[in-house]
């Protein structure tokens, strides 16, 4: 697709800003903006968001990781489960209907909004 650079840069800055500010990945804002504003389909939005987060979270981790605010042993164990889930999730994404992805996403951000407000 033709990249709408100004919009893409705005989304990137907003997502990164929230990531640095609140310690979140930024996916909760990247995915809906790609879908609703750039009209990217849910599958490509999911994949592109995850690729972006791996970059921005690395930048955030460098800031965090130099202190002693990371339990590396726990992170390693959770990662074993996480990598397994992520691999199968990415492998079988095409088998999930687009409305179910949008619906699942809606539920996650609804829960996240309540948690952030409290």
């Amino acid at each position: 697709m033709e990249i709408p650079w100004p919009k893409a840069l705005v989304i990137g800055i907003v997502a990164g800003f929230l990531s640095g500010l609140l310690g979140i990945g930024g996916g909760v804002i990247i995915v809906p903006l790609l879908v609703l504003w750039l009209r990217v389909d849910q599958f490509q939005a999911t994949a592109t968001s995850v690729a972006t987060i791996s970059v921005t979270a690395s930048a955030a981790l460098i800031t965090f990781g130099v202190g002693d605010s990371v339990e590396w042993g726990v992170a390693a164990i959770v990662f074993i489960g996480g990598a397994t889930g992520a691999w199968f999730g990415a492998k079988y994404l095409d088998h999930i209907p687009e409305w179910a992805l949008a619906g699942g996403f809606t539920v996650v951000i609804a829960i996240a909004s309540v948690r952030m407000f409290l």
Binding site: M1, G27, T48, A51, F64, F79, F88, A90, G103
Partner: protein
């Protein structure tokens, strides 16, 4: 031992959701580590990031193999994202976090409503593809 199984389960659930919904998983890791494993908020956030980085790399490799990533868009988002993250981290030092969180929560509610409408639209077009819509909507 039970703790280890708990950590593995947490990873499996959040990793699957991260790869299929396009999120990092921090909205799951941080509260889970605080609530079930007695982490402080700060350590939970740092550890969450340490899990998110390699997990999203695994998910991104899987998505790249399926040719779903829009690479140039990802580069634009990532580059702008790093700049935004540096700015956000600086503002976090001087701003009232509670106020910021609540403002963002309100934004998320609006986003949730828009995504719910989008879900309904996608669901209906699915029904049309399948032929008749029994609800007649």
């Amino acid at each position: 031992m039970i703790e280890v199984l708990g950590y593995l389960t947490l990873g499996l659930v959040a990793g699957s959701l991260a790869a299929t919904l396009g999120i990092g998983g921090g909205v799951i890791y941080v509260p889970a580590l605080v609530t079930f494993f007695a982490f402080t908020q700060h350590t939970a956030q740092g550890t969450s990031l340490a899990i998110i980085v390699p997990t999203t790399i695994v998910a991104a490799v899987g998505h790249a193999r399926a040719r779903r990533i829009l690479p140039r868009l990802a580069v634009a988002l990532g580059a702008a994202g790093i700049l935004g993250a540096i700015a956000g981290a600086r503002v976090a030092l001087i701003a009232d976090e509670q106020v910021l969180r609540r403002m963002f929560a309100v934004v998320l509610v609006v986003v949730a409503v828009r995504m719910a409408l989008r879900t309904r639209q996608l669901y209906r077009s699915r029904t049309l593809d399948g032929g008749t819509d029994p609800s007649g909507a």
